[in-house]
């Protein structure tokens, strides 16, 4: 019976408010297998595994571990049941040593057994030799070289990941969940990672790993479950399926849209980015040589799974993130290394990915937020020392009306933070587009926005294009890219790996490039099937 499997999650549903993250998902993982979870951003993979690990509790559904029904209140419960997890963002304390990190919090698990004396000695004692020996043994057993006394901050990312794995193994687990394990690794380190997984399985562990990279699944997994939009689409043996079909399962079938895009001939080059290199917030390389051009009246779509450098690309182009190499030219002028202000003054507009964290000042009014690009340099009031609130308010109201921003009672009073996601996005869009920019960089402009607002936003972008703006559209929504773009490029692991046009490609092909960076054998699709 399936319920005797190592892990059985049955009809798991998880909602956060209105958002349904997992919708009746069923997952069965056999003992000793390597099971992959595949899906795009927002498909629900992390949520599902966080439920298994006890960080979230399911809204409905059940979990069986080795045939026993379980309910996890917290990760400690899950670990007691033999489930361990290594997250994408490591939960390690950089200043402490490897050994200290692994042993942290152990008193909860051992204290109960030893009574008061044991408890006190756990508190005030510090047995490091016992754990150290145990750790060294584990490390040998699983082939994970590590120096127990090194401080975590001194370790490279690959080593830190090994510490995380050892942390889980130290707790005597049977099932190990890995969330995007190769996301932060170099190809060499990724190979080591796969060897580790093989060793783990040889030693009797069951491994579940989350990924969006097809070649990893091909190389490592026995079976794969594909999630899409919160639902489990299918579970297949890796032997029985090929890349193309996997990609299609991941991104779904083609969907027809209503937007009629009229062809517009591109004008002069407005953005010329060459050989861009940059690091992310963890000082790992995020961009590894991006070349990109955008012309006026052209929409260039950037496809890619989240985490491949999109955010860093956008932030570099607006001057917010320093480049480690490369050059940016706007309208022929070299603006490499310039501040955001200078880039904005060159008529570049930007719609950030995270509208609340980066796009607006939530407690300030709609008017304040609308005016961020125009309050100086004579944008609204030239030469006057004092701001002209009447003009600013008018300007804000124009944007509110023109871009259908709802929920604004009074532009001067309503705080921007009270607007719903879609309306806030429209406000930001309005403020960025009303400047009639030469270049508009839009990073996930329709993510998390209601359907009505999505249509509106897309129409405005097309209008902007007609008016002469060059648009760089970074989006995870392939339908959006296919509908709106003149050219599409695929960003994978920090570089552009493919360039094409919507007519010449389809979601399946894009899916492959997005998840593996190179063309596998692509079945030729008859033209009629595309779109």
């Amino acid at each position: 019976m399936d319920r005797d499997h190592a892990v059985r999650m049955e009809n798991i549903t998880k909602t956060f408010g209105d958002v349904v993250a997992n919708d009746e998902v069923t997952l069965s993982v056999k003992k000793g297998e390597v099971h992959a979870l595949l899906g795009e951003n927002g498909a629900g993979k992390s949520t599902l595994m966080n439920i298994l690990y006890g960080l979230y509790s399911p809204t409905s559904g059940n979990i069986w571990i080795n045939g026993e029904k379980k309910h996890f209140e917290n990760p400690n419960n899950a670990m007691d049941a033999g489930i361990g997890m290594v997250h994408q963002h490591f939960k390690l304390i950089p200043r402490m040593s490897v050994l200290e990190n692994i042993v942290l919090g152990e008193r909860e698990t051992t204290a109960q057994r030893d009574g008061i004396a044991g408890y006190l000695s756990q508190l005030f004692g510090r047995d490091r030799d016992g754990p150290r020996n145990q750790l060294t043994q584990l490390a040998e057993q699983y082939g994970l070289e590590i120096n127990p006394d090194a401080k975590v901050w001194e370790l490279g990312v690959g080593e830190q990941q090994r510490v995380e794995i050892l942390k889980a193994l130290y707790r005597d687990i049977d099932v190990l969940i890995l969330d995007e394990p190769t996301a932060v690794l170099t190809p060499g380190e990724a190979e080591r990672m796969f060897e580790t997984i093989s060793t783990l399985v040889d030693e009797g562990l069951t491994v579940i790993f989350i990924t969006h990279k097809l070649w990893e699944i091909e190389q490592m997994a026995d079976r794969v479950t594909v999630l899409r939009d919160g639902k489990a689409v299918d579970t297949v043996d890796v032997e029985d399926i090929d890349r193309n079909d996997l990609a299609e399962l991941m991104v779904g079938r083609e969907v027809l849209f209503d937007i009629e895009k009229q062809p517009v001939s591109p004008g002069q080059t407005v953005l010329e980015a060459s050989n861009l290199h940059a690091d992310d917030n963890r000082s790992l390389p995020a961009l590894t040589g991006v070349d990109l051009t955008v012309s006026r009246s052209e929409i260039v779509g950037v496809a890619g799974v989240s985490g491949n450098g999109q955010r860093e690309l956008a932030e570099c182009l607006i001057g917010f993130r320093p480049l480690t190499d490369g050059q940016i030219k706007i309208d022929g002028e070299d603006l490499t290394g310039c501040s955001p202000k200078e880039i904005i003054d060159s008529d570049v507009s930007f719609i950030p990915e995270d509208r609340h964290a980066h796009g607006c000042a939530a407690d300030l009014s709609v008017m304040h937020n609308a005016a961020t690009k125009v309050y100086r340099n004579g944008g609204i009031d030239s030469g006057r020392l004092l701001l002209d609130y009447t003009s600013m308010a008018d300007y804000a109201e124009d944007i509110v009306d023109g871009f259908d921003v709802r929920g604004v009672t009074e532009v001067r009073q309503t705080p921007a933070g009270t607007l719903s996601g879609g309306n806030l996005q429209k406000l930001i869009l309005g403020r960025e587009m009303s400047r009639a920019p030469s270049l508009l960089i839009a990073n996930q402009p329709t993510r998390g926005v209601d359907v009505g607002a999505i249509e509106h936003i897309r129409e405005r972008m097309l209008e902007q294009q007609k008016d002469g703006t060059g648009v760089l559209l970074i989006s995870e929504d392939l339908d959006e890219l296919l509908d709106l773009s003149d050219r599409i490029v695929v960003l994978y692991e920090g570089e552009i790996v493919h360039e094409t046009t919507p007519e010449a490609t389809n979601k399946r092909e894009l899916g492959i490039y997005m998840s593996s960076g190179s063309a596998a054998t692509i079945k030729e699709a008859p033209a009629a099937e595309v779109r």
Partner: protein, 324 residues
């Protein structure tokens, strides 16, 4: 006694309140809570201890009450910062103000009174050592206690499991929480210990150093303790050195006239005399701890590598457990 010996002796005794208060502050800050109320807690300890000693006739009971006074103020700080998650800076500064106000108010009746404070206890044999003997081995019980506490606190913070947990809480409360460490309980305990030690430091001042009470008696030592923690980069043995260094400055400034003379005679460069008069002026010397602390701060931040140095990563941030 030679100038050197006298200064050394003062240094050792002046270092005690600094060490006590700063060790307490290190404990609190390592758990992530900044306590700027140390000055107020020291005042509370000083008055509380003094008053209790007069009322009960026992200096040890006085010392105990001083500790409790510090803890009482610290409890307010803990509730405000940990449970109510309000701003730690404001809470601390206002508690200092509260401490100043309450002790000035209630202390009026105790001004002018004197007690037999803690007496010096000479360790036979060791006290005979030239120069160092009287400085190090003829000090009060509280001074000996403080010296003993140093390795104990060090061991507690850096060699026990609970110490590792405190560090974890101060670095990354979320990770600590996930690992099953009781974050809030640890923070409360650390803040209370910090308050207790600040109270002890204040009590030491009134019961073992001056033997009277006056509103000016703490004289900014609480703030120096806060500065010391930064100067010592949250570690105990550097703190020992730093506290003695600052205490030496204090001791030297008491004897600044003699010190100046000695330096001027020794260096014997006439043109440098006015410089020495300035640099070894008592008030000018009192600014050195503060200026040096800023320099250390600047130096550390400039390095960029905050992994070896710098404050606990989660200092000043209130921890809220996310809903799931």
């Amino acid at each position: 006694m030679s100038l050197f010996a006298a200064t050394l002796e003062s240094t050792v005794r002046l270092a005690t309140p600094l060490l006590l208060a700063a060790m307490g502050e290190i404990i609190a800050e390592r758990s992530g809570v900044l306590n700027l109320g140390v000055e107020g807690m020291m005042l509370g300890g000083a008055l509380g201890g003094f008053a209790a000693a007069i009322l009960t006739g026992s200096i040890w009971i006085g010392f105990g009450v001083g500790i409790l006074a510090g803890m009482a103020l610290a409890l307010i700080h803990a509730v405000i910062c940990i449970s109510l998650k309000a701003d730690q800076v404001i809470s601390g500064i206002m508690l200092t103000l509260l401490g100043i106000g309450l002790t000035t108010y209630f202390g009026r009746g105790y001004v002018g009174q004197n007690i037999e404070g803690f007496q010096r206890i000479a360790i036979p044999g060791l006290v005979e050592i030239p120069v160092l003997g009287t400085a190090l081995f003829s000090i009060t019980a509280l001074d000996y206690l403080t010296l003993l506490l140093i390795p104990i606190v060090w061991y507690f913070l850096f060699r026990t499991n609970i110490g590792a947990e405190i560090t974890a809480v101060g670095e990354d409360p979320e990770t600590a929480d996930t690992a099953g460490i009781p974050v809030f309980r640890i923070q409360y305990a650390c803040v209370l210990i910090g308050g207790a030690m600040a109270g002890a430091a204040g009590a030491q001042l009134s019961l073992a150093f001056t033997n009277f009470w006056g509103v000016e008696m703490v004289a900014g030592r609480g703030w120096i303790a806060v500065a010391l923690v930064i100067f010592a980069q949250w570690r105990i043995f550097p703190l020992l050195g730093a506290a003695y260094f600052f205490a030496a400055i204090d001791a030297l400034s008491f004897r600044s006239g003699a010190v100046r003379e000695w330096v001027i005679d020794t260096v014997a460069v006439a043109s440098l005399e006015p410089a020495f008069h300035f640099l070894l002026n008592p008030q000018v010397m009192s600014t050195y701890p503060y200026i040096l602390t800023i320099v250390v701060l600047w130096y550390v931040m400039r390095q960029g590598n905050l992994n070896e140095l710098g404050a606990p990563s989660s200092l000043l941030k209130a921890y809220t457990r996310e809903q799931s």
